[in-house]
Amino acid sequence: MIAVTVSPDVIDAGVEFAAISASGAGGVATFVGLVRSDDNVATLSLEHYPGATEAALQALAEQAVTRWNLIGARITHRVEDMHPGDIVVFVGTAARHRGAALEACAFLIDRLKTEAPFWKKETRGEQTSWVEPRGSDDAAAARWKA
């Protein structure tokens, strides 16, 4: 089962984990991305492309389910304003065994970072700046080329 959500609502890791675990799978892998609190960012704002974002995440989840024969895949991404420690994204994958769940979870977060239309803007004091893409993200996404 695939569940994709993009919303300004606060993400509750417990609720997300319960949802992906309810699939009855023997192995569940999760990734949680947080607003970092180590470089003076007061506010992180996420902009996205409504419609295209959900479609991109759905397509990635479908690829993962097919490639790793998953029982479930869940991607929940927050948008708009967040603060240090808030959850930005939750990725959960459920499979019969751990190997497929772990690999599919890494695939989803790596590819999400380079293929889903989200843009981060950081506010530090009075300064705001758009986050620049990192070459290491492209490299991480490229390792999943089938």
């Binding site: 902009e47 991109a56 843009w119």
Partner: protein, 85 residues
């Protein structure tokens, strides 16, 4: 041809609007030509699009390279490289 243009992130900020409707001439057949056409008559657009290597695009919500054909596109989005997750 009437196209709904969408801008995101710093492209949106530099153009000064999130969307606009345009009717490019028939000789504009690719995303890159559309960008050139927009930049030709508007200093604001020219400034926003000055570094083509930092622009990405989607045609009818499908991500495409800048040299992709417009076809019968209804919606074209222009934006910086994505930074989600």
């Amino acid at each position: 041809m009437t196209i709904e243009l969408l801008y995101f992130a710093w492209v949106r900020e530099r153009v000064g609007k999130a969307s606009e409707t345009v009717s490019p001439p028939a000789e504009v057949t690719t995303v890159a030509e559309l960008i050139d056409w927009l930049a030709r008559d508007s200093a604001v657009h020219a400034d926003a699009f000055v570094d083509r290597a930092r622009l990405r695009a989607a045609v009818d919500q499908t991500f495409v390279p800048l040299d992709a054909p417009l076809g019968n596109a209804r919606e074209v989005a222009i934006f910086p490289p994505v930074t989600g997750g």
